[in-house]
Subunit: 195 residues, 2 copies
DNA sequence: ACTCCTCTGTCTATCGATAGATAGCCGTTG
DNA sequence: CAACGGCTATCTATCGATAGACAGAGGAGT
């Protein structure tokens, strides 16, 4: 992968996370790294191609950042996801890329919608597996992801990260799902991860 | 309020809920009701003005639809919010208007961002009050709104309303984790409200 | 070593489409 | 008459995308 292409993807990701799919243009990206918009097409044939590439790279990075740790509990896994999103929200004030794209899913080119779908599928599967597997953990995984994504939406809309913290506070010490003694162990400092 | 203006707002609302702020244009709206795009400016001077008007009308309608019922419990209030969002999601496959706008908050004109913020403030305040008031109910209200908004994002991204049902199942009876038939129960028991 | 060829990355120039917005005219209606 | 609500016509800006040219790097063949 080219370095120019990488920088273009970085910029595109930043813009999408800030303002959605319509929040960036080839001209804008090109100007920001000092080339012409036509040159961007050399790296990515279409805008949809580029956005889809950004989305799947984002998925890879995110899932690598929240990767399963040895001896982790279900709460650890949830805390890790929470921390990852919070860090990104706090560091550059931007929310989950696929959260933005998912919200405007109805207006996305098919390949971008597909990449977005894949991100959530992978997250749900990963989270569910790390919480023990089974149908009830899938519902729990969906609830966790929903609360986190929604928490970011609230934080962005209200302009305060406190909204995210309060909205997702209950995830840190969740309703007991499987083993009651896991709650006591969950006090271990959640790792500071971020995609 | 003019009838043409109403119809324009209806269409704009539908488009925004489907594809975000960039998901509609004056030309598109005008064509759909059989007038010219220039005529839309007669009713709404700018696109931002229109979107802001749509957002605050949406807020009014939504809060009227989930209005406090006599003798309701905190769970009733939450169930009412849940049902309102679910109905809209189910009926026309579209999510909360302010959820979409909140996700792309970084790219919105100031007045639209403000209207979006106001919607969430009003919801949080209303929900919090109906759950007894106090700081801990505010956090709970934020959690409920986050889970609902995120649940809609997931349902849209994954293309299945089941994702919403499972993600928000724990809100219906907070302590209990999802039972398989809870989704169908939620469709009939609470009032069928929708903004 | 020298030439030829290909590939890469960028450029200029331009396309057609669409965006939001404006100015001014005109018919209907109260 | 005067206000309202729509129209025609047009502007400027920007969009994604394409065509074609050019410079440089590097390998292959002689």
């Amino acid at each position: 992968m080219n370095e120019t292409a990488e920088r273009l993807m970085d910029l595109a990701e930043s813009h999408i996370r800030n303002a959605g799919y319509g929040g960036f243009s080839f001209r804008e990206l090109a100007a920001e790294i000092g080339i012409k918009s036509a040159s961007v097409h050399h790296h990515f044939p279409t805008k949809a191609t580029m956005a889809a590439a950004v989305a799947s790279r984002y998925a890879d990075r995110f899932l690598a950042a929240v990767v399963h740790q040895p001896n982790e509990t279900a709460e650890d896994a949830v805390a890790m996801y929470r921390s990852a999103f919070r860090t990104a929200l706090d560091r550059d004030g931007r929310m989950c890329l696929c959260g933005v794209l998912g919200a405007e899913a109805g207006g996305l080119p098919p390949e971008v919608a597909k990449a977005t779908r894949t991100f959530f599928r992978r997250c749900i599967e990963d989270l569910s597996a790390r919480m023990g597997g089974g149908p009830e953990t899938k519902a729990r995984a969906l609830q966790v992801m929903a609360t986190l994504e929604g928490g970011m939406v609230l934080a962005r809309a209200l302009g305060s990260i406190d909204a995210f913290d309060q909205a997702t506070a209950s995830l840190a010490k969740p309703v007991e799902i499987s083993k009651p003694d896991e709650a006591s162990k969950a006090k271990t400092t959640p790792p500071e991860v971020c995609p």
